[in-house]
């Protein structure tokens, strides 16, 4: 266990070094935030009230999404891993006395937290200070805020579970573009990354509610603004726990299987 914890720390600290990259990322995040808010503003003008999510909640949603982007983004590229499979470096990972699944899991999640740690504060801070219709409002209630934090952390565990499973596919295909980018596109849609889930057509909403992707970020952001009431939120958090278990078990077994079959490429 101590090995895993210190590995987590190492990856976290290494990735905290990329400050300039984070700065560039910040600009992008602000830009996308405003872009989405302006588009929704145009659509909400005149209609507003019968929408499934009110404009203010939607703005909160957008800013939280931008602030915690790394914790919800499914397209996680680990070039190191892809290369290590192609050039045979993976052999070194295999000889370590740790379970490869948890090793990857920790690496992935540590990277995500490093990236979020560098970015979330400036975005949240600025978004809170923005003028009225464009600002991030304060959480719906204290309970909602605490549940939001819990759901966000659990959501990142769901996300990492999904990513490690997707990475396993690389063992079979030896490349990470084709099939993964198809799955990623669908997952993004069902995670509310393209359009918040309440705004999706009803059919897709039904599909999304049966799958784990919406538990990554959509759930926590809507808890924050009160779009999902406390009681429903608690039930959904139980769903998160359930899905984390399922994903970890599936990922664990899949990694075991794929590493057994693995042929080391190159030398």
């Amino acid at each position: 266990m101590r090995g895993y914890i210190s590995y987590f720390k190492t990856v976290l600290l290494t990735n905290l070094q990329y400050k300039i990259a984070a700065l560039a990322g910040l600009c992008t995040q602000f830009f996308w935030g405003f872009l989405q808010i302006f588009i929704y503003e145009a659509f909400y003008e005149g209609v507003g009230d019968n929408a499934p999510i009110v404009y203010g909640d939607l703005v909160d949603y957008v800013w939280l999404q931008q602030a915690f982007f790394a914790l919800i983004y499914i397209r996680h590229r680990d070039d190191e891993l892809a290369n290590s499979i192609k050039n045979g470096q993976i052999a070194y990972e295999l000889v370590r006395p740790y379970n490869l699944y948890f090793w990857w899991y920790i690496k992935c999640i540590a990277k995500k937290y490093a990236s979020v740690a560098l970015r979330f504060f400036p975005i949240i801070f600025t978004a809170l200070l923005l003028p009225e219709p464009y600002n991030l409002s304060s959480p719906d209630s204290l309970v909602a805020f605490l549940l939001f934090l819990l759901a966000l952390v659990l959501g990142s565990l769901v996300l990492t579970g999904i990513i490690v499973i997707l990475q396993n596919i690389m063992f079979f295909t030896l490349e990470d573009k084709g099939i993964n980018s198809v799955i990623n596109t669908i997952a993004e849609l069902l995670a509310g990354l393209i359009l918040p889930i309440p705004l999706l057509p009803d059919v897709l909403k039904a599909i999304a509610s049966a799958l784990p992707f919406r538990l990554i970020g959509d759930l926590s952001f809507r808890i924050y603004s009160g779009n999902i009431p406390i009681k429903e939120a608690t039930i959904n958090i139980l769903f998160q726990l359930l899905w984390i278990c399922i994903l970890v078990i599936v990922g664990y077994l899949l990694t075991k299987k794929s590493t057994k079959k693995l042929q080391i490429q190159g030398g």
């Binding site: 302006f38 659509f43 209609v47 980018s181 849609l189």
Partner: protein, 255 residues
């Protein structure tokens, strides 16, 4: 030029399954974008005075421009790789136009699938809007498509020119490319004033999409709106000047 294209097409088709899957994912991305504005329209009805078909026109023109330029001008888009690896030196000693060579260095032809779908959507919107495609209207639509490509081309060339200074590719360029794509896919008229000015004068995407769209859908009658896409050619001038300066002052940095 065509030799380059066929060469890249052949080499990329060697990885058949990968090419097909990449194309499929292009189509999927395209469909999810369509779904975005479709869902919004389904929920909210018309936005300002624009119908969904007018959005489709702007959307397909912008998507076509982005995917088509990105497919052919990948070399400019990924220009930092040429600089970093030192391959650009190689291009400079060949007795051939430098632009053509950079274009020929890399292409991403699976993006063409998206261009194709954009055209389909454009045709659908034109039929639905009952626009009579006389030669003049057809010409305007072609101008719009070309204008949109030219603007993205200018952004790519400008981004590449900046690489001479920065070596590393700049994320800010991506913001311009994807930002232009995602903002301008809706009629610019629905945004607030600042955004409208930005996309009319700074990155003049609106002159290739929004204004001529107003003309062919009959919302304005002045022919001036229809020929606006021609002005996009002007955007190439600063980009090419800066790129040429970059080439002149280029010092190799690769090995």
């Amino acid at each position: 030029m065509f030799k380059y294209i066929s060469m890249h097409l052949k080499s990329q088709l060697e990885y058949k399954s990968s090419f097909i899957l990449l194309s499929v994912s292009q189509i999927l991305t395209f469909l999810t974008y369509c779904l975005t504005f479709y869902s919004l329209y389904e929920r909210f009805g018309a936005v300002k005075k624009f119908s969904i078909y007018q959005v489709m026109i702007c959307f397909s023109i912008v998507q076509f421009g982005e995917s088509f330029s990105e497919a052919l001008l990948r070399g400019f888009d990924k220009f930092s790789e040429l600089i970093k690896s030192g391959k650009f030196d190689l291009l400079l000693i060949r007795p051939q136009n430098i632009y053509l060579q950079v274009i020929g260095s890399k292409m991403e032809l699976s993006k063409i699938t998206k261009s194709f779908f954009s055209i389909l959507l454009l045709i659908y919107a034109i039929i639905k809007l009952k626009i009579y495609l006389n030669p003049i209207n057809l010409l305007i639509v072609l101008l719009m498509l070309a204008g949109s490509c030219i603007i993205f081309a200018s952004i790519f060339v400008l981004g590449a020119a900046l690489c001479f200074k920065t070596v590393e590719g700049l994320e800010i360029v991506n913001i311009f490319v994807y930002g232009t794509r995602d903002f301008a896919q809706y009629p610019i008229g629905m945004y607030n004033r600042v955004i409208q000015i930005f996309f009319t004068y700074l990155i003049p995407m609106a002159i290739a999409t929004y204004f001529p769209m107003l003309y062919i859908t009959g919302q304005v009658t002045s022919i001036w709106y229809a020929v606006m896409p021609l002005l996009t050619l002007l955007t190439l001038i600063p980009s090419c000047i800066i790129f040429n300066c970059g080439v002149k002052s280029y010092k190799s940095c690769g090995g």
